[in-house]
Symmetry: C2
Subunit: 305 residues, 2 copies
């Protein structure tokens, strides 16, 4: 095995991911668990990190670079925010050091937009951005990072100029589990972005976003009156919420701005389908690779690795 150079950690609200990383950025070992910030706030951040480091046989004292909610006020050590407009290159040096007698552990800051009428925050996505844009820092683009709280980021060269959060993933969970629509989608599996139900819902909401809370109810009335299947009802809800996000984000951008999609797995496929309906051809970057690349950029900047 190549010699480990540092430990990279993406510590989200509900997930923990760790990569033992070599000098060349190669992943030597990986750990994933659901010990996100919420769990760690009770169980202890230091002990969770130590256990996973031990599980991959990380040498004692290896430096650790962390991004995500571990740096939130309710997290391990508060890592604050860089205010936008912000150069992505300024992120590593704004990392906060965790008091630890054995290892150099740093948590990267988030980004804050303090505009009075459009306040917004991100924590974790700035590191994905750092990785996604490290090799192509030219021009103006709009970067979409879908998820529980999707981020749409306006980037000019190496700088974040502004960004918007759309709480699409969390709205989907709340609607699918805590409204009457849950009866219409019971037992349905993963949403198929190529299904007619998904594509039609995206098209309908893009044409008329003000009807969002009416179109959502179509999952129930369609089931009652037209025998809409649970799979199609679920695709309808997903398409409505993702399409609403895409409509809102594109409306706030200059027409023709190139779009980069930083996503992974099945969620990425849903957004690619929605983009196609919206007439957008994005550059697609894998979100997992992007966060590892961003942590690598930070590690190299901090420790000359």
């Amino acid at each position: 095995m190549a010699k480990p150079a540092y430990v990279a950690v993406d510590w989200g609200t509900s997930s923990f991911r760790l990569w033992l990383t070599g000098h060349d950025g190669a992943v030597l070992a990986e750990r994933r668990s659901d010990e996100g910030m919420t769990v760690a706030a009770t169980a202890g951040f230091a002990s969770i990190l130590a256990r996973h480091c031990q599980a991959v046989s990380a040498p004692a004292g290896l430096p650790v670079i962390v991004c995500g909610m571990a740096g939130a006020r309710q997290g391990w050590v508060e890592a604050g925010y860089l205010d936008v407009p912000a150069a992505l290159g300024a992120i590593p040096s704004a990392a906060v050091r965790v008091p630890d007698p054995l290892a150099d552990i740093r948590i990267l800051p988030g980004l804050a937009q303090r505009h009075p009428a459009r306040p917004d925050v991100m924590r974790g996505e700035e590191t994905q951005l750092l990785g996604a844009l490290a090799e192509r820092p030219e021009g103006h683009r709009l970067v979409c990072m879908p998820g529980t709280h999707s981020k749409w980021v306006h980037v000019a060269g190496d700088s974040v100029t502004r960004f918007s959060t759309f709480m699409t993933g969390e709205l989907f969970e709340a609607v699918a589990n805590h409204t009457i629509l849950r009866h219409s989608i019971a037992e349905a599996g993963a949403v198929d972005g190529d299904s007619t139900a998904f594509r039609q819902a995206v098209a309908d909401i893009i044409r008329d976003p003000a009807l969002a809370s009416n179109l959502l109810f179509g999952a129930r009335s369609g089931a009652l009156l037209h025998g809409l299947s649970p799979a199609d009802a679920k695709a309808h809800i997903s398409g409505t919420l993702i399409g609403l996000e895409v409509a809102g984000a594109l409306e706030a951008a200059e027409p023709g701005t190139p779009v980069t999609l930083v996503a992974a797995g099945s969620l990425g496929s849903l957004y690619e389908s929605a983009f196609e309906i919206a007439g957008i051809e994005p550059v697609v970057i894998d979100a997992d690779a992007a966060v590892r690349a961003g942590l690598a950029v930070a590690a190299r900047a901090l420790w000359a690795i």
Copy 2:
């Protein structure tokens, strides 16, 4: 006490209301409980009704007129739907009789819109409409009935031509209780429709409805960055969702169509405030009075009371 003529019941998903009513429509006694359809489906509709009838000393065998979810498939006896376009006057004769050896108990039907792309249903609101419009059945108007599932109904004379459900109330509950925004509104009391936070949120979403899932997140980012209070965060969420509904419903109507608001209590005040911001001056009708009036119209039609 005047002589009771019939028992009127509004039996919703989560609430039960009963009025012992005289020949002239006067309320002789009233009962309210949370034994809605969900509870009654387990506890038994007949026994709940009998107990409340007994509590108001209703004479045995008095006829009972019921509207609402008691007529749903999961309810007491399924009362089906009248398809729109539908004359409100056709509702009473479409009532379904509950098999009961002692009393004449009838449940009023709902309304269904079987349009392939815009299926929709209502159950209970058709009786409010019947009451609200009984004395002024002329012209074309748009009737807003806010609630868990708000209904916007296009009425021409005595006929319902089409309608749309906006699941505003249920979305508010899901967002306020089952997303990260719950932390920002903890312990906040009732929303004030005259507050700047509510009015600004209504204005913002009407101007740009596609940003709904972004503007909602402002309750959190505003709390994090600008110290937005729990009361203002809650008003912001409420204003965003009510404003979205108003924007969507008005967009789908002919400009200048007169609007009638059938609402009660604090919810009615929030909609009146949102209407003012949207430049609408509605005729306001009390929802409680409207449902009693609708049940009275039905009772008179069925029993020549």
